[in-house]
Subunit: 120 residues, 2 copies
């Protein structure tokens, strides 16, 4: 299937990788250069740069214009779109939790009932 | 880069496609068969089935066990994980909005100031 290029699809595709999510987490502490990002991930500069390009295309980071350093900065606005999209489904995950809750209560009531029978 | 297989990456990869997100949106109205899902999307059954397999692997839908119909149902729990993950970045997108707000206020003050000069 071809890669979708609408903004939200690009954001989701960029987030579908644990290293890229770890890079974003690192950038919450402040801007960082490619070198600073390569070290904790034990990755080569070019491998990190590849991930950064995906993040940059998705608008999740911006890069400084100083040719040599080009520090990366987090750009969280697309993540706001992600939350807004997912929020439409909140009542559905709440429902699954309610069902689980009801089931657990049912088990507990049953247990109490069984207990009282055993103590008779 | 290889496809990551951790649950959150699988969820994000499954969401990185507008048709798959439209299928999830359709399923908020209730369970649907492959046939019912193919019609609004003007897609062949096999093309829809391919998308459904991606959604099923990511745990975003479950499929009934009746061999012939196998209706699909929304399973929203992974979307809860998505929101929880994105929430860690809320203060960063709030910050960008604050900066925009400050800038707009600055423009307005400037405008008022310019106006009062013109009216002198």
């Amino acid at each position: 299937m071809p890669t979708a290029t609408d903004p939200l699809s690009q954001t989701f595709a960029a987030l579908a990788d644990p290293t890229r999510r770890a890079i974003l987490a690192r950038l919450t502490e402040g801007a960082a250069t490619v070198k600073e990002l390569s070290e904790p991930f034990a990755m080569s500069g070019p491998a990190v740069s590849k991930h950064l390009r995906v993040l940059e295309r998705a608008g999740l980071i911006t890069r400084g214009r100083k040719a040599q350093w080009r520090p990366c900065e987090l750009e969280a606005t697309p993540l706001r779109e992600v939350t807004e999209w997912a929020e439409h489904y909140r009542r559905f995950w709440d429902e699954s939790y309610e069902r689980l809750d009801e089931y657990l209560q049912h088990l507990q009531t049953k247990e109490e009932h069984d207990d009282s029978k055993h103590h008779r």
